[in-house]
Every structure is written in C-alpha cells, then in structure tokens.
C-alpha cells in the first residue's frame, strides 16, 4: 500500500503492476500493451470464428446446419455454466431448468405478439432479450439462496430445481399447456436472402450470433476484475474477503450471469424447433450439460465449445451405429437414447478420474510435455 503511494502521488505514468490476484490466472498474465487490448483481441477472434462458421454453413445440407445451430445454442449455455462451476466453484444442477425458463419465455412472448396479430423482425430479438431477463431474474433468486449454501447442499437444491420443470408446467397448465407444451410461429429467413434460402442456415446464423455474443462477453468478463474476483472466491473465501471482495455479491452475480446465458441458450434452442415442452428439459439435460463442461475442462471457454460439439454429436451416435452395423430393431430401440447416456456417464467418470482438466487441459498438458521433450536433447 505504502509502496505504491509515492508513484501515484508523483503522477508517473507507470504501467499498472501485476495484481497479486494475477497468480490465480492460468497461464501467463495477459498484460495490456504489446498484444493490444483484450477486447479487440477477443473481438477479432470472434469475427474470425463467426466468418468460418458462416462459410461452413453455406456448404452444409439442412440437417447438418441444424446441428450447427444446436451446437451454438448449447454453447451459450455451457459457456455461462463453465464460468459458474469452473471459475466460481458453485455446482448448479439446475441449468436445464434455467434453459426451460428461457425457452418458455421466448414462446410466451412470441405467442403474445402473434395473438395480437403483430409481426416483425424485431420480435425475435425482443423475445430473446426477455428470455435473458427472465432467466437472470430466476438466477438471482436461486443465486441469493446459493450464496449461503456450499458444495453438496447447493447441488441438492439445484437438483430439486431441475425436477421442477414438469411439475410447474402441469400446475400452471393454463399458461404452459402441461405436457403438450407451446408452439409459436417458426422463424423464417428474411426476403432479401432470396426465396430459396435454406431456413436451417438462417437458424444457424441466429444461433451463431447469440453464441458469439455470449462467448465474447464472457471472455472479456473472465479477464476482468470481476473474473479475478470469481476465482479468488472459488479458491479461498476468507482470503478473498480479506482482499476486499464481497463474497456473497460475487457469487450471486456469477449465478445471474450464468443464468442469463442459459436463458439465451434455452431461448435459441426453442426458436430452432418453434416449440417448447417439458419433455425437452428432463433432469438428464442438466447432467448432460455438466458432462459437456467437465469434458472440455471446467472453467475453460474453449472447453465449453468442445463440450457443446460433443453434446450434439454424441446424441446421434445410436442412429449412426444402427446404420453402420445394421443392428436388429429390438436392440436398436434399446440403444436409442440409452447409448448416449451411457457414453456421457462414462466420459464424466473417466475424465474426472484420469484428466480433471478435461480435453482442453489434457491437450495442453500433452503439448507442454512434447515441448519439454524436444527441449531435452538441446541441453
């Protein structure tokens, strides 16, 4: 404290020294300066990734484009989820229910406009914004409770939240239409793209935009003062508090941010099929999401991308197997759904036991080892 004061008083334009919290960051500290601003760097990355995916969608057939769209929708959720679990150490099992909140909000808003005969391009972004707001509010409520709970208790409470979706949709049948769920007008490509523009490609673009925005915002958030507070709270609450961080407020905010992302992802997910039903948000969805962020490496946004891709592709595994090995009907029916479940469960266990850093961490470790081995002969 006293050491920094003289330089501050003399007004020397000294570059900000590395914060003591910097050691909490994985890897080398990314100081602003030679590598430019963090925001610009992330923005360039996002634009590049977006351009690549847009080029990709121009080549793909409809079903694959829908898969891309689903990956992007799940990426919104997993990115926010991994920040909460990996960087803040709060294990929520209720993110499937938060996705449902976002999805139902989109459906209700779109239906409200549709019933009044209002149409327009602005309804979709408005409904998605409403989904983020509603889910962030739900996240605030859960987060306020969560900030007082630890480890298994928080997991138990959020597990109870995840079982709530079918119950709520049945209790308020008048609003949510019970098991049947809600339909709303499907999103169509705008006229200027041509009459024969593939609708799935348009959906993929919408989902892509949402995913890029989410990841960009989170990437900057993680690198900010708030991101460092998140990690400090995760690693040692007492030390974080001594360092002047408001522990409970940080935890609640982390939950709100994560919930908002889940709401956006859920909303986009609903837009892809123009329907919502409680059956789409079962308890396993929350466990699938957990698998996605664990396999990618907890707390890593790049890992969240891996996870979202695997989440979508692995669910097609049974049909792929059935086609390749021409399995009998009975066996195929039993594998349907269950095989993906088994693979997800195995992945969760094996990754936690063998490589707690996840795929991303494993790749990094292997790369570091290879580099070290190459260095040995030089000595």
């Amino acid at each position: 404290m006293t050491a920094t004061r003289p330089s501050a008083r003399s007004g020397v334009d000294r570059p900000a020294g590395p914060s003591p919290l910097r050691r909490l960051l994985p890897g080398a500290p990314a100081t602003a300066g030679p590598r430019g601003s963090t925001l610009l760097r992330h923005l360039a990355g996002a634009v590049l990734a977006g351009a690549l995916v847009v080029l990709l969608t121009n080549q793909l057939p409809p079903y694959q484009n829908l898969q891309v769209a689903r990956v992007c929708a799940f990426l919104c959720v997993t990115a926010g989820y991994t920040v909460l679990v990996g960087l803040n150490g709060q294990l929520s099992l209720g993110h499937g229910a938060l996705m449902a909140t976002g999805a139902y909000t989109v459906a209700l808003v779109q239906r409200a406009f549709d019933e009044r005969g209002v149409q327009g391009r602005w309804i979709l972004p408005l409904s998605l914004l409403a989904a983020v707001a509603a889910t962030a509010l739900a996240g605030l409520v859960i987060g306020l409770a969560a900030a007082r709970l630890r480890g298994p208790y928080l997991a138990g409470v959020t597990l109870a939240v995840a079982t709530l979706v079918p119950a709520v949709s049945t209790i308020f049948t008048g609003v949510f239409n019970g098991e049947q769920g809600l339909r709303f007008p499907a999103e169509t490509p705008p006229a200027f793209l041509g009459a024969y523009f593939q609708p799935e490609r348009w959906l993929a673009w919408i989902a892509l935009l949402a995913a890029l925005l989410t990841v960009l915002l989170l990437a900057n958030l993680v690198r900010s003062r708030f991101g460092r507070s998140l990690r400090a709270v995760r690693d040692d609450e007492v030390a974080a508090r001594l360092a002047g961080i408001h522990v409970a407020r940080t935890q609640v905010l982390a939950f709100v941010v994560s919930a908002g992302c889940a709401g956006l992802g859920g909303g986009v997910y609903a837009v892809l099929t123009a329907t919502v039903a409680p059956g789409k948000f079962p308890l396993e969805l929350s466990l699938f999401l957990l698998m996605a962020i664990v396999i990618g490496g907890l707390g890593s946004l790049a890992g969240a991308v891996w996870g979202a891709v695997l989440l979508v592709t692995l669910q097609d595994l049974p049909s792929l197997l059935t086609e390749t090995f021409s399995l009998s009907g009975g066996l195929a029916q039993r594998l349907e759904g269950n095989l993906a479940l088994a693979v997800f469960g195995l992945i969760l266990i094996v990754v936690m036991l063998a490589a707690p850093g996840g795929l991303h961490g494993a790749v990094r470790t292997v790369a570091a080892r290879l580099r070290a081995r190459r260095r040995v002969p030089e000595d």
Binding site: L91, L149, P152, V157, T163, L164, L287, L335, A342, G345
Partner: protein, 292 residues
Amino acid sequence: MDRFLFLTFGGLSTGAVYAAFALALVLIWRAARLVNFAQGAMAVATAYVGYAVASATGSYWLGLGAAVLAGLLLGALVERVLMRFVGHANPLNEVIVALGLVLLIQAVLGMVFGNGYRPAAAPFDTDALTLGGVAALSPYDLWVLGAVLVVVVLLALLFTRTPIGLRMRAAAFAPEVSRLLGVDVSRMLTLGWALAAAVGALAGMLVVPTGLGLHPHAMDLVFVVAFTAAVVGGLDSPAGAVVGGLLVGLILSYVTGYLGPDTTPLAVLVLLLAVLLVRPGGLFSSAKARHV
C-alpha cells in the same frame, strides 16, 4: 378428519421409506463426508436385480434378499473401483463422478431391461384396512414400517454395541488416530458404503411397489426427497434422518392430498430451501453453520 387421518397414516408409511433412504445417505456422509448422488440409481439397479430374482423364483423374499445382497456388493464395488480414486482437491469432484454413475447405471438398466415401466408386485395387500370406520394403514404399509424399524434398530445396535461398529465410528471420526490404533480404515470405508447401499436397496424394494412400477428413473424424485429428509434431520445424525424422513413424508402426504400430486416437487424445493436457509445444519444439529 377422516381424510386427515388417512393422509397421516399414508405419510408415515412413505416417510418410513424416505427415512431408510435418508439413513443410507447419512451413513455415507458420516463415513466419507460426501453426499452420494448416485444413491437413487444404485437403489434402482438393486431393485431390478431383486424383482428379476423374485419373478424367476416366484418368491418375493428371495428377491428381497437378492436385492440387499446386490446392494452390499454394489456399494463395496463403487467405493473400491470409483470413489477411492477421486481426487479430493475439489469437493465437487465426488459429486460429478456420482452423477456420471447415475447416467451410466440408468443407461445400462435401460439397455438391459428396456425403458418401459415393469410391474412390481407387492408382497402384501396395498388396500387400506378400515379401523373403526376410518381408512388406516394397509398391510403393506405395516410391512414397510416394520421393516424400516427393524433396520434402524439393527443399525443402532451395530454402531453402538459391536466392536466393528465402534471401529467404523472411530475410522470416520479420526482416521489417522484409528489407523495408528490398528483399525483398517480403508476396509471400514468400504464396509460403510456397502451397508449404506444395502439400506438403500431395501428402501428401493419398499418404495417401488407404491409407485408406477420399476423404471430406470423411478428413484429420481425419491432421491431428492430423501436428500431433503437427510438435510432436515442434519446430514450427520442417523436419528435425525429417521425423524426427518417421517416428517417429510407427512408434509408431502398433506401437500399431495390437499393440493394435488403435481405440487410435490415444488413443496420439496420450498421445504429444502426453508431448512437450509433457516437451520443449515438441520433441525437436530448443535453445530454452528460456517459463515464467511
């Protein structure tokens, strides 16, 4: 009033099952300081074994024995093969591995037995007997209450009156010191898991006939309720788990009876949150909650 009595008796009977299930959770919490989120899936797996044996031999009691035996084996297996190797650096790791086990067990059950509901016959009549004009307990309810009571008494005797129970308590309470005194702590841990899974298996066999039947997801909600019961009683207290189970069973019975069955999950969440926010250590704890 008749309805109230009917709901009370029904609540006590389902509460007894929740109590047994919560007891299984508390056993593992005391032995290993972790909440076994795979308890429900493990109980379903043993219930499948039990009913497969029961339908093959035609005897419910052989099936019950097979389920409890399968529970002992499964519990020991899970501890020896999985939980032993989970890193303890982060308390979330154990929860995540347990959840992976849930997915795996449910998927394997679905692949082997199919995803449909399988009928599970009760060994006794499930229609309520009328006592002085009031519908009271059914013979099956009496069997459930009796079975849970016997298990609770046996566990209490095991832990307080036998050398092995003393060793188990010592190993959980002070592992280092116990090891110095010649207690095989790792075997006690395995034994704790086996016992807990056997109690869970019994609870599973008891609860399945009262529901829609046997199904890979039959225990999802039961687990959440049992977790609530264990939290109400305090995760550290076996007596609390029993009282918590009965209490939660009664409350849910009234809620379901007066407000409709769809409100059950909502009531569970409200109850869980209320207990955790007002008395985080459970109703029967004397320990102070941690505050930062």
